[in-house]
Amino acid sequence: MKKKLLATMLSASMIMTMAAGSVSLAAENTEDPQLEKTIKILSIWAEDNDNGVLIKSICDQYKEINPNFNYEYELVSADNLKQKVATLAASNDLPDIFVYEAGKPIVELIEADKIVDVGAELKTLGIEDNLNPSAVALLKNLSGTDTIYDLPLGHNVEGFWYNKALFEEAGVEVPNTWDEFEDVLKTLSDKGIQPLAAGGSDKWGVTRLINAYAVRTMGADALSKADQGEASYTDEGYVAAAQKIQDWATAGYFGEGVTTVDMNTAGTMLMSGDAAIFYNGSWFTSNLNNESENLAGADGIGFFNVPVVDETISPADEYSMNCGNILCFSKDKYDEASSYFLKYFVENIGNEAMEKQGSLKGYTYDVSDDSVSGYTKVVLDEIGKAQSAFTWWEATMNSETSTVAQENVQTLLNGDMTALEYMESIQDAHDMSAL
């Protein structure tokens, strides 16, 4: 049911995006009362990096409209984000605005009544149309609520990026089915090319691969079923997915010491031709667009969606999608001044992101996207093809289960744990956390 809704939303969004121009202008009719306020922002990006650039520039622009506005920008490492927010929440000291993770983590904050119902707030401010409907649908889906409690900071598809030169060298084509995919990997490996690069030290880079196979063989709701208890993590299908990735590791597809490689290094390996395929989200374009970083050049890297196992279970136009890390507003700190900032943020971030970085953040924009780079265009096209979406491996897991799922994936890769033991450890953690 949810899937269908999402599909409709997605196609609707394509039209919305094109006709967005008038919307953001219309919302600018109320004058900003220039209320005095210092907003604390907790982020995982430095002010000159990724979304940090956008948040900072929106804040600085808003300061010109409201000179009484001020902001403090705090940085925390992405690894440490959940711990930090948990401790701040426990002591009722959440910052005004903070970056967080969608899925189960935000559900816990919603249940504890810590964050603002952003959806209702946007409605009051009359700016709900500034959000991309498919992004909104995704967020609702992830938190399992009828309204959104967060703002997207990305509108991403995930899939396999591949090095075109290496594909040519090995004489392989982009695979459509999973069987073809396996053949490609085998051929690459036989030709002495490392088929896959993966961020084993960042862990999620690998669990995404298990997820890809699990969803393709069991459908988009596979993980939420296991979470709800309708299925067990130790059921055959899940174990088979874990087994698949372990087999790849055993076959040496990831190269040596994959558990010590982080996502950045893995990406560099793809671009420098040390590995042929790399699973990552569309945010990877920011690296691809960087000429000094991307040795493969402006057209050297291509993209393909997770290959299909069975069209009836999970079709080719179903993509792994997400809204990246999200922004939440602390309920205790939210007031009228915050609402004006929220309004300005929502109205402008879409354009800012498209102009500055050529990236989609889940908002409408009215600047031209003709000038975007080849890679950004690839992503826009892929998002355009998406008819339905699935989420990531840990999206439905609470932090305890997701920690175990991520940590043990390294053990799985090293072969110190069987696929069944891996899935059992997840089931155990799931049961434990319910105590």
């Binding site: 030290s201 862990k203 010491g257 010590t260 305890e400 744990m417």
Partner: protein, 292 residues
């Protein structure tokens, strides 16, 4: 004399500020932890009295057992590595090194002042295997030992060992200086007399130096034990507890349980276990001290 040393005002001034601070920040939290250990959830989020449930949970918790084993292995290896190699270095300063004594002593002590995280990053690069060989693997490769090239911190079999090597590397210079000082205190006459009696090399150490050094060795073991039992910084910096939980210590597990899983009560139970290990360890080391 008596009056001066029984000056009540002075005693209060000397003792009270430290006592208050120590009680508020060290002693009080320990007691507080005992109280917390009877609750489930985390303060502010689902905080409920649960009796001894947390203690029961400990016995069925595989992750706890794994962390305990990792931690004990780490203490054993690092404590003896730091103190043993420190002692060896000190013997070298004293008996073999003539010319560059001061400069070598200085250099060897130096890693002590490096921030642990910096050391972790340095060693991560030393142990690296993909995309390029790090220092260790490229050296092995260079001298024709290709078969030994491996993901040192990427596999469970070598990760803990690699971490131990790093921590021994950091601190052995520190202990060498302590031992060197102790060796200087041993008079030349004693050593000479022993030499005349035919004690050389190992026997000189075993029968003459070791007994004299015993108090220092024990003090050093106490230092090293109190440092290793908390095992947190270096493991976080080098391996982040991985791969899997091959290098995850009790403190790291406690940190996760309390702050990521929002189970402060259960985290307190683990903290109490760490405390008990400290008490037991210190008692054992203390036993060796009593013989004199």
């Amino acid at each position: 004399m008596k009056n001066v040393l029984a000056n009540k005002k002075a005693i209060a001034l000397f003792v009270v500020p430290a006592l208050v601070l120590y009680t508020a920040i060290v002693a009080l939290p320990v007691v507080w932890s005992l109280y917390y250990s009877l609750y489930s959830g985390s303060p502010g989020l689902k905080w409920e009295f649960c009796g001894l449930d947390n203690y029961k949970m400990l016995f069925n918790d595989k992750n706890f057992k794994a962390a305990l084993i990792v931690n004990v292995k780490y203490i054993a290896v690092v404590m003896f590595g730091q103190v043993g190699l420190g002692l060896l270095l000190a013997l070298m300063f004293k008996f073999w090194l003539k010319k560059f004594k001061t400069i070598v002593r200085t250099l060897v002590f130096f890693p002590v002042v490096l921030p642990t995280v910096a050391v972790g990053q340095l060693f991560a690069k030393i142990y690296e295997i993909q995309p390029n060989y790090g220092l260790l693997n490229s050296l092995l490769d260079g001298i024709g030992l290709k078969s030994l090239v491996q993901p040192w911190i990427g596999q469970a079999s070598t990760a803990l060992g690699s971490l131990c090597v790093m921590d021994i590397w950091v601190a052995m210079g520190f202990y060498s200086v302590i031992f060197y000082g102790a060796l200087l205190d041993i008079s030349e006459d004693v050593v000479e007399a022993a030499r005349i009696d035919g004690a050389h090399g190992f026997s000189l150490f075993r029968y003459v130096l070791a007994p004299l050094l015993r108090p220092v060795i024990i003090t050093s073991l106490v230092f090293s034990f109190s440092g290793t039992v908390k095992m947190f910084e270096s493991a976080l910096a080098l391996t982040n507890g991985g791969p899997g939980n091959a290098t995850k210590s009790l403190s790291m597990y406690m940190y996760n349980v309390s702050f990521s899983y929002s189970k402060v009560g259960y985290g307190s139970v683990i903290a109490i276990v760490i405390f008990l290990i400290c008490v037991i360890g210190a008692t054992i080391i203390g036993k060796f001290d009593k013989k004199d």
